[in-house]
């Protein structure tokens, strides 16, 4: 008799579970409107200046967002070296003229105290604005031992444009001890508000890119695998219209990968190789007119230095290099991790790391106008 009562109770609880499960948020049917491309200004501009010199420390993986007052807020991680216990997430703002003093936002101790879960190290940050207008900071967190394969994500948000941040919340994104989910590419708002699509990637065993659906309370409510072929990682999602988007992925060795969606990220084509060589570095892409502009980095044989690479494409598969801008003083200095956004000043802003062979790194800030792209034999101004 007791068994029957227990079975009926479990069955009722199961039905309740099913009711809650089917009423959980659906995958969005459309993306939010893509940001308009910057227009030609009549002036060809390309300027580069250091945004933050961390040397002898290591600053890396910069992510940025536009603030309501037109300033740009950047976040990055900084410490003695990658995965060092002293690494913290740092931030600074750019007011159009100069960068503010950098200050730490959160480190392992604050993440442990705030989340109630031990955090030994922090890594890649990602900043974006949710549909409530709050800034959200996702960051990689790890235990004391092990490398990136043990990474999971935490989220904190700010209601004052990044001056103060809430206690971080654990995001659950993976079945096996919630391990191996990392972030890099910018988040994409879902149509109708309430949800944001966050490109992520799996970092244990086989790498593959994914897309996580996050609600405005920083809870993961959905997830899609972009594709497992070619072991792509660090997806960059370029929304082309309400339902269509392209995902460009870093490849361990070979060529930048491309996958497409026609249903707002619910399903993706199998990743294919593009013509753009990729030396295990992330890429950023934006639309300019009918063409795509990619910014990535690779070793420039002619200059014998690492360079920021600007390339254009009509279809996302076949790319033509426009310009290579070398940085550093020799082949040991590596340029990587570009972040692209259109500023209130009508210019594109690219933030990236120059990692020096002698140790330490510098965050660089390049600004260029749409006219400069046209001058490089790129997309002409209309």
């Amino acid at each position: 008799m007791r068994r029957h009562v227990l079975a009926v109770t479990a069955a009722v609880a199961t039905l309740l579970t099913g009711f809650v499960s089917v009423r959980s948020p659906e995958w969005p049917t459309a993306f939010g409107a893509p940001e308009p491309a910057a227009a030609c200004t009549g002036k060809s501009v390309f300027e580069v200046a250091p945004a933050h010199d961390a040397r002898p420390l290591f600053a890396h993986a910069v992510s940025a967002v536009m603030l309501r007052d037109g300033r740009l807020r950047a976040v990055w991680y900084q410490g003695a070296r990658e995965l060092s216990p002293d690494v913290r997430i740092w931030t600074a703002t750019f007011d159009g003229m100069r960068w503010s003093e950098a200050r730490p936002v959160i480190g392992p101790a604050e993440a442990t105290a705030g989340s109630g879960r031990f955090v030994g190290k922090v890594g890649n940050p990602l900043i974006f604005r949710n549909s409530r207008g709050e800034l959200v900071l996702l960051f990689a967190s790890l235990g004391k031992i092990g490398g990136w394969s043990g990474v999971s994500l935490k989220a904190t948000h700010s209601r004052d444009e990044g001056e103060t941040w809430s206690a971080p919340r654990q995001l659950t994104t993976a079945a096996i001890f919630n391990m191996a989910t990392n972030v890099r590419g910018p988040a994409v708002p879902a149509d109708g508000g309430g949800f944001t699509l966050v490109p992520t990637y799996h970092e244990f065993g086989k790498n593959f890119p994914e897309l996580v659906l996050l609600d405005d309370d920083d809870r993961v409510v959905g997830k899609r695998r972009i594709g497992i072929s070619h072991m792509g990682l660090q997806p960059f999602i370029l929304v082309t219209d309400r339902r269509h988007a392209l995902a460009f992925m870093r490849a361990r060795d070979g060529y930048t990968l491309l996958s497409r969606t026609a249903d707002a990220g619910d399903s993706w084509t199998a990743p294919v190789q593009t013509s753009e060589a990729n030396s295990d570095v992330p890429v950023v892409v934006t639309r300019i007119g009918q063409e795509l502009l990619m910014i990535t980095s690779r070793f420039d044989q002619a200059a014998s230095r690492w360079a920021l690479v600007f390339a254009v494409s009509r279809d996302g598969i076949t790319w033509r290099d426009l310009a290579l801008r070398p940085f550093g003083s020799g082949p040991q200095d590596v340029v990587k991790y570009p972040w692209l956004l259109a500023g209130a000043d009508g210019l594109y802003h690219v933030l990236f790391s120059v990692v020096y062979g002698r140790g330490g790194s510098q965050l660089m800030h390049a600004r260029f106008s749409r006219d400069w792209i046209a001058d490089q034999d790129g997309v002409p101004c209309q």
């Binding site: 007791r2 068994r3 029957h4 227990l6 079975a7 109770t9 479990a10 069955a11 609880a13 199961t14 039905l15 309740l16 579970t17 099913g18 809650v20 499960s21 089917v22 959980s24 948020p25 659906e26 995958w27 101790a109 442990t112 105290a113 705030g114 989340s115 109630g116 879960r117 031990f118 955090v119 030994g120 967190s141 235990g143 043990g150 206690a167 971080p168 919340r169 654990q170 659950t172 993976a174 079945a175 096996i176 001890f177 919630n178 799996h202 244990f204 065993g205 086989k206 790498n207 659906l213 809870r219 993961v220 409510v221 959905g222 997830k223 899609r224 695998r225 594709g227 497992i228 199998a270």
Partner: protein
């Protein structure tokens, strides 16, 4: 968001069960005291974090299956119900089958990711309904408790996690189940060879508890 009490209870329960099991030949009072002390130590902060925070930071909250396994073990150790120490073979087999089908696919072996189904839809609720039928049909009360607790934790959003899979199973569970089944197999075979058809030593859903005891079944 700090951890909730229910999240904290998982590692405390496991450590209490281990402490009581290690001292199972000692008097009941010693076992009980050791279990309480161990649970308290897990929650007590050492420096900037407690052992529970280390555990939750590394493995995350425990599934209902782990809670049932640890709870059953703790009950058996404290109540002298030695025969009820292990989960039923039916539950162990269910854990092995689900773990073997689920985890390799989440690991990127194919483009298909069953973990996605935990966020929404009827697939995982249908699976747990099937488990309820298995538990009822095979008289495995621990499966019914497992599903009931997983469902209640999920519905109450106890872990702040909207994926039903994480309330149902964690990788510890199929690993433990494989070990438990393997450990029980030689004894089961020996008993069959020596004494003919007899009570399966790990098949406790059909075992009678000692007089005066009604354990978690």
């Amino acid at each position: 968001m700090p951890v909730t009490l229910i999240e904290l209870a998982g590692p405390m329960l496991v450590v209490a069960a281990l402490a009581a099991a290690l001292l199972r030949r000692r008097p009941r009072g010693v076992r009980t005291g050791a279990a309480i002390l161990a649970a308290a130590l897990v929650a007590a902060p050492f420096g900037s974090a407690s052992a529970a925070m280390y555990f939750l930071g590394t493995f995350g909250p425990l599934s209902a299956a782990t809670l049932i396994i640890a709870g059953k073990y703790l009950y058996a150790a404290l109540a002298n119900a030695e025969k009820q120490r292990w989960p039923s073979n039916t539950m162990l087999i269910c854990l092995v089958v689900i773990g073997a089908a689920f985890y390799p696919l989440t690991f990127g072996l194919t483009s298909f990711d069953p973990y996605e189904f935990g966020y929404r839809g009827v697939a995982v609720p249908l699976l747990i309904l099937a488990l309820v039928l298995v538990g009822w049909g095979f008289r495995a009360a621990d499966i019914l408790w497992w599903i009931l607790i997983a469902a209640l934790l999920y519905v109450s959003d106890a872990y702040g996690n909207r994926n039903l899979w994480d309330y149902l199973i964690v990788p510890f569970d199929p690993i433990f189940a494989v070990g438990a089944l393997a450990a029980g197999m030689p004894r089961r075979l020996l008993r069959r060879v020596n004494a003919g058809p007899d009570q399966d030593p790990t098949d406790f859903e059909n075992a009678s508890p000692p007089a005066g005891q009604t354990g978690l079944r």
